[in-house]
């Protein structure tokens, strides 16, 4: 029903007439947040630069509201598209207010004199990025993170329909990363501004984007919603990860599991208690087994990545014999058994037997509990 808003149609981009990425076909709707992800040097920035007309388009078209972007004058385009780039600004004696005020450029007169209204919009933009107190400071004197926010404010001040950002969170600490992305989210949802950006933090990309574009090799490998794109195998292929995992369920990144076929430690836990233990063992590169974990237990999610073997049980079932026996086998082969703590209820009463079994072998270590334990 909606006409195409921002479309890349068989777009080929590259430098010096040499194509880096070809046949890009994207269809972006108004108010969407679209993130490009992919390995370093894949060409994400190249695509962005071609959209913003910094680079010449080698083939295909970019259509903005059905108008070819090349036929729009720079001036017109500037009222509809704003950018936040990775370029370093070399300014002299300009305050943050001045930098943000350049966003009003397309709207001011011949000599660029700002009206009262323009000045207020500058303040509003600064307010939107929580940088109102930075206004009067020299742009060169603030931190990289603060600079990034000012540049975003500048783009916002331009009152565009689309904001294009190239790695906007690169210099920011976690707090400002979150802040920036939440501002972008607000811009998109509240003001209907379309956001197109590249991010290295795929976990953040997963959480904030409406659409993800995977760029790798010489073409766009995938284009879809985060649910579609963020599967473990896809991400692993995209980035060529062979030394860890990306867990799409929580959007978390995990390092490699400990090397080794046979576990040395058996971890008994539930409800998150095992997670710190798994991490410790991973740091000491100790292969371990975990069990008996219900498949809907959160420990299970991590154990399946880090443990060399997991003894699992279906959710809400009583512990089966096969599982029980397997666990006992593992306990016998392991040199240590760690009880990280688990609540015992009517369905997993057999766990007590396991614990006793381990104690009898003299291998049981019980970690100090933080909360109550059912006895």
């Amino acid at each position: 029903m909606s006409e195409k808003y921002f479309e890349l149609s068989n777009l080929s981009v590259g430098y010096n007439k040499k194509t880096l990425i070809h046949d890009i076909c994207l269809d972006i709707k108004k108010g969407e947040i679209v993130t490009l992800i992919g390995p370093n040097g894949a060409g994400k920035s190249t695509i962005l630069k071609s959209i913003t007309r910094q680079l010449e388009i080698i083939g295909g078209k970019v259509l903005f509201d059905s108008e070819e972007i090349r036929s729009i004058s720079y001036k017109d385009l500037s009222t509809r598209m704003a950018v936040v780039l990775t370029d370093r600004l070399k300014t002299e004696l300009l305050t943050c207010h001045d930098i943000v005020a350049t966003g009003r450029y397309p709207y001011t007169g011949r000599l660029g004199i700002l009206s009262h209204e323009d000045e207020e919009k500058v303040d509003d933009a600064l307010r939107a990025v929580n940088a109102l107190d930075l206004g009067s400071r020299d742009f060169n004197a603030i931190s990289d993170g603060q600079k990034q926010r000012i540049l975003l404010a500048r783009a916002i001040c331009q009152e565009p329909e689309i904001i294009i950002l190239d790695e906007p969170t690169s210099f920011l600490d976690i707090r400002y990363k979150l802040e920036l992305l939440s501002i972008l989210g607000r811009m998109a949802k509240k003001n209907g501004i379309t956001i197109i950006m590249t991010l290295h933090e795929i976990d953040l990309a997963q959480k904030i984007s409406d659409k993800i574009v995977c760029v790798s090799g010489d073409h766009v490998t995938r284009y879809g919603t985060p649910q579609e794109v963020f599967k473990e195998e896809i991400i692993k292929d995209l980035y060529g990860i062979d030394n860890g995992f990306f867990d799409p369920m929580f959007g978390s990144i995990e390092l490699m599991k400990p090397a080794g076929e046979t576990p040395e430690v058996f971890v008994i836990s539930s409800g998150g208690a095992g997670i710190p233990v798994y991490r410790e063992l991973q740091k000491t590169n100790t292969p371990f087994a975990a069990g008996i974990l219900y498949e809907n237990d959160m420990d299970y999610q991590l154990a399946r990545l880090l443990a060399c073997e997991v003894v699992a049980e279906s959710p809400f079932e009583e512990i089966s014999d096969s599982a029980f026996e397997r666990a006992k086998e593992l306990i016998s082969t392991c040199s240590r058994v760690i009880n990280a703590g688990l609540p015992i209820g009517p369905h997993n009463r057999r766990m007590l037997e396991l614990l006793d079994f381990a104690m009898a072998q003299g291998k049981l270590e019980t970690l100090p509990a933080e909360g109550d334990q059912h006895g």
């Binding site: 780039l85 002299e92 450029y105």
Partner: protein
Amino acid sequence: MQNTGAAGSFRQENFRRRSRYITVFAVLAIAFCVIIVININSGNVNIPISRILDILFTRDGDPKEVDIIWTIRLPRILMAAMLGGALSLSGFLLQTFFENPIAGPFVLGISSGAKMVVAFVMIYSMSLGYTMSSYTMIGAAFIGSLMSIGFILLVARRIKNMAALLVAGIMIGYICSAITDFIVTFASDSDIVNLHGWSLGSFSGMSWSNVHITFVVVGVTLILTFLCSKPIGAYQLGEAYAQSIGVNIKFFRIALILLSSIFSATVTAFAGPISFVGIAVPFLIKGALGTSKPIVVIPATFVGGGVFCMFCDLIARLAFAPLELNISTVTSIFGAPVVIYMMINRKRRAQ
């Protein structure tokens, strides 16, 4: 509801800054007037101020004194003011273009091109039997500048980054110097005895026709430059951002180079190359104003440049009268410490 907004707001900041700008401009205007008066009043012949005012406004009085003031002193002062302003603006434009405050007006090789053609004319005009007029030299210098400008523009159309343009300018400088040295070997001493003096610049012997031409050329270029305040301000963010707010980069690059070159070519043509003005004055002005926004920096730099050059010319004339120092000697004495201070400061701040 009043014009000052909330504390720390943009409007308030602008309000505060405006008062600073007004102060600076007032100081500049006063300095300008004072230095003009001092200049008119000084020379080897003593003429009291009351008579000066009479002569200026009524053109009446002792014909000798009228001659001295109108034919000798006034054109010279006006040229120093206009050319000083032109040179400073030329420097400012190139500094914006290269995003480097040490870029001077002659960094693109204009003075070398002018010197080459001037040397050529000095040497060969006599042997070709052509007797020179003062405009021969002016025309020669201007043509030499145009050649350098033309070459730079050709290069600017093709290259993507600034460093290449800078290199091209330096190359032009070296090549023209080499050619000049080559021609000079064939010259007799009497032909080129004045070449060295020319290349250090002088405001002496300016006539009213010089003033008229300079007024038109510099005036028009000044107005055009001022009208470009907005895109120049955008350009200060770098080409990528400037383009994103609507500036046509390809065209604007050429415009910047052209405007800057017209200024420096005019100065070179009439007074010869003058050093340090184009670097020191914009730096001082930006420091005084506390901003680099073109809409205030451009007029202030022009006036400041005029004041600086008139001051230096005063010293050049009077320090060892009746012998005159070359203007570059004096501008170097005052300008070099400023530039050195600027470079040290930059380094310290970068750390």
